[in-house]
């Protein structure tokens, strides 16, 4: 593996296009992440069509840059505007903004940047160590285990939708159903095409993702209003004092460990990780009462956790083909377009590509840290972009990005329908992420379910006779049932279902 890694690094350094793509990816990711209302998932979804003309390695250079950059970028608006740019920076504002208000905005940005870089690197090391091992175990899986794994991925995601588990499960079922549209690969029978040629190829994932993550968010932003953001303009020194930095090593390590663990759990989501990291740091602090007033630990722990989670997220995504969260779900879509299916076989048959993914993430982490430190003032100015032009520009990007998939206006129409549908789903309290997960995991689930039954002559008990398959099914059932029971108990007590922050352990 070391040779593949070295070769991938040399190939990267020798290719000016790859270097330029990772730079553009990181810078665009930071800018998009910094803008409130544009999540990392949305950034990746609307920029994904730019990779259509690229080879798989260059596509990863761009997308990993956008991924890592946008996850970090969320902290800029959390600190300077007191609005998290992405859900992962939801607690960074608690201490970041007060510190900025004290005239130490640059320092707050510096802590966030260095912690993001540290967490990102630790996540990368764990990703590089664990992913091949998990893939090795995955190679021993049979069809029943993969059926159980797909089910567990969906169940975890629905369970992560605190307060709307039931609707999350229904959204996942709808996604699985959408995955059955078109030609059945095992029997060549057409399903739900309603006599149209467009639906015979199935529901394309990219226009759907652009619609539900991109356009739906534009519509949400329009509904929320177009008021201006109040930005803190005085940045000051960006590099924090050395003595303070040394004190931040342990909070950064603890935050990163939490982030990696939460990232590995499919669908746990970055908001949960940063909530836990913050709550843990507050519990361990000698002065917990100072949290919320602008202490560096309150920035370092969640920011380290946030970026470390990327490595954790990528472990189930790359080694088992089960997305770690909505961002990696979109990333998986990008790989599928390139003809690469994430899973154990990827590590066996495409070692060079896996090495290129490691390099892409490493480069993205380093560039994010460097650009974050050097360009803090510049990125802060991004928050002055007028909202009308921004929202209209994103809508145009959504339309053109969907068109670029197959050069088809019908795909733009599908994106529009999915965007409006996603917006209405959110209005009715249905989370949209399980829908996309269902669409991605649907083929894996159905193919393995039916293959198992063919091999066992239609005997369903095969799922119960294989220990690992039984374990995965039980875990899926428990994962889906637990939050439903919790919600039921809370309702009986008369309390509203908890928020992510509550679940994370008392973030103020």
């Amino acid at each position: 593996m070391f040779e593949s890694l070295l070769a991938a690094l040399v190939r990267y350094l020798e290719s000016p296009q790859s270097v330029a793509l990772s730079l553009v990816g990181v810078a665009t990711g930071i800018v998009f992440g910094a803008l409130p209302g544009i999540s990392s998932t949305m950034s990746l979804a609307i920029l994904l069509p730019l990779t259509f003309g690229l080879n798989a390695t260059d596509a990863m250079m761009l997308l990993m840059g956008v991924f890592n950059g946008s996850v970090y970028g969320g902290s800029i608006s959390a600190i300077l505007v007191n609005i998290p740019g992405t859900p992962g920076s939801i607690v960074t504002q608690l201490d970041g903004h007060p510190m900025a208000r004290q005239g130490r905005a640059g320092e707050a940005l510096g802590y966030a940047t260095l912690a993001s870089g540290f967490g990102g690197l630790l996540g990368l090391v764990v990703f590089m160590t664990l992913a091949p091992l998990v893939a090795l175990v995955g190679l021993r899986f049979g069809s029943p285990e993969f059926t159980g794994l797909a089910l567990l991925g969906l169940a975890s995601l629905s369970a992560a939708m605190v307060g709307s588990t039931f609707k999350g499960i229904l959204a996942g079922v709808l996604g699985l159903l959408l995955a059955t549209v078109g030609l059945d690969p095992l029997t060549n029978v057409l399903r739900f095409d309603f006599g149209t040629r467009y639906l015979q190829g199935g529901i394309p994932m990219i226009p759907l993702a652009i619609g539900v993550f991109g356009l739906a968010e534009v519509l949400n932003n329009l509904e929320r209003g177009l008021g201006r953001w109040e930005v803190i303009r005085a940045i000051g020194r960006v590099i924090p004092p050395w003595r303070e930095l040394r004190r931040m090593v342990l909070p950064a390590v603890r935050g990163a460990v939490v982030g990696i663990i939460v990232g590995i759990i499919p669908a746990a989501g970055s908001a949960i990780g940063v909530g836990f990291a913050y709550a843990q740091e507050k519990r361990l602090s000698r002065h917990p009462e100072k949290f919320g007033t602008g202490v560096p630990e309150g920035i370092v722990a969640p920011e380290s956790s946030n970026n470390a989670e990327i490595g954790g997220d990528l472990i189930p995504t790359m080694s088992l083909g089960i997305p770690g969260d909505s961002i990696t779900a979109v990333l998986m879509g990008a790989l599928l377009i390139q003809g690469l299916r994430p899973g154990p076989l990827l590590f066996k048959e495409h070692r060079d590509f896996v090495a290129a993914v490691y390099v892409a993430l490493a480069v993205a982490v380093v560039l994010t840290t460097v650009l974050g430190l050097l360009g803090a003032r510049l990125f802060a100015r991004v928050l002055s972009v007028p909202k009308p032009a921004l929202l209209v520009g994103i809508a145009v990007l959504c339309a053109v990005g969907s068109y670029a998939v197959n050069n088809s206006v019908a795909d733009v129409g599908l994106m529009l329908v999915c965007g409006v549908g996603g917006y209405l789903m959110q209005k009715a309290g249905f989370p949209v992420v399980p829908l996309v997960f269902g669409l991605i995991l649907g083929p894996l689930f159905e193919e393995n379910l039916r293959r198992t039954l063919v091999l066992s002559n239609g005997d369903w008990t095969v799922y119960l006779r294989r220990p690992l398959s039984l374990l995965l099914l039980l875990l899926s059932a428990a994962t889906a049932a637990y939050p439903l029971l919790l919600e039921y108990r809370q309702r009986r007590r008369g309390a509203a279902p908890g928020t992510v922050a509550d679940a994370a352990g008392g973030v103020p």
Binding site: P49, L50, F52, G53, F166, L170, V173, L174, L176, L177, T180, D184, L186, T187, V189, R191, F192, F194, L215, V218, L219, N220, L222, E223, G225, L226, G227, P386, K387, P388, A389, L391, V392, G393, A395, V396, L397, A399, V400, Y403, A404, N407, V409, G413, L416, G419, V420, K427, A428, G429, F430, F445, E446, L449, R450, L453, V454, S456, N457, G458
Partner: protein
Amino acid sequence: MDPGRRALTDLASGGVLLGLAAVGLRALARHPDLVAYDFGADPGPGLLPRLLLWALAAGGGVLLAQGIWTLVRSGRPEVAPGWGRPLVLPALFALSLAGYVAALKPAGFRAATAVFATLWILVLTRQGGDRLSIRAAAGAVAAAAGITAAVYYVFKGFVKVPLP
């Protein structure tokens, strides 16, 4: 969310899910291949869709029942006045985007995008509380031209997409 609105949301989403399930189950029941062929040990391409459609129908039924229960418990549904007002702008935006998509082929990407972007930047600038002045209009035209040119050259020149 007030109980009246929650009840209506549950009723509407339950109804939509039940409708979807009904359409899907009808399509499966009338599918000539699924009716005619025996797929042997393979449960066939109808198994999973059928299971999922029944699950959707059950979920839709639960939501419908929940909506009716809330209505019965709270008496007449009272929806806060003006609750639909914030939805007008997104609805208009989605409708005009549909018009923009329809105009892409006949008008071409550049003309359709420039018009769509200019109009909406002006509308949103006004919505944001700013007065519409000549300066604002010039700014909207410049921003729209910038968006059109940037997207056109990135996708046409870099991604090699044959934009209409």
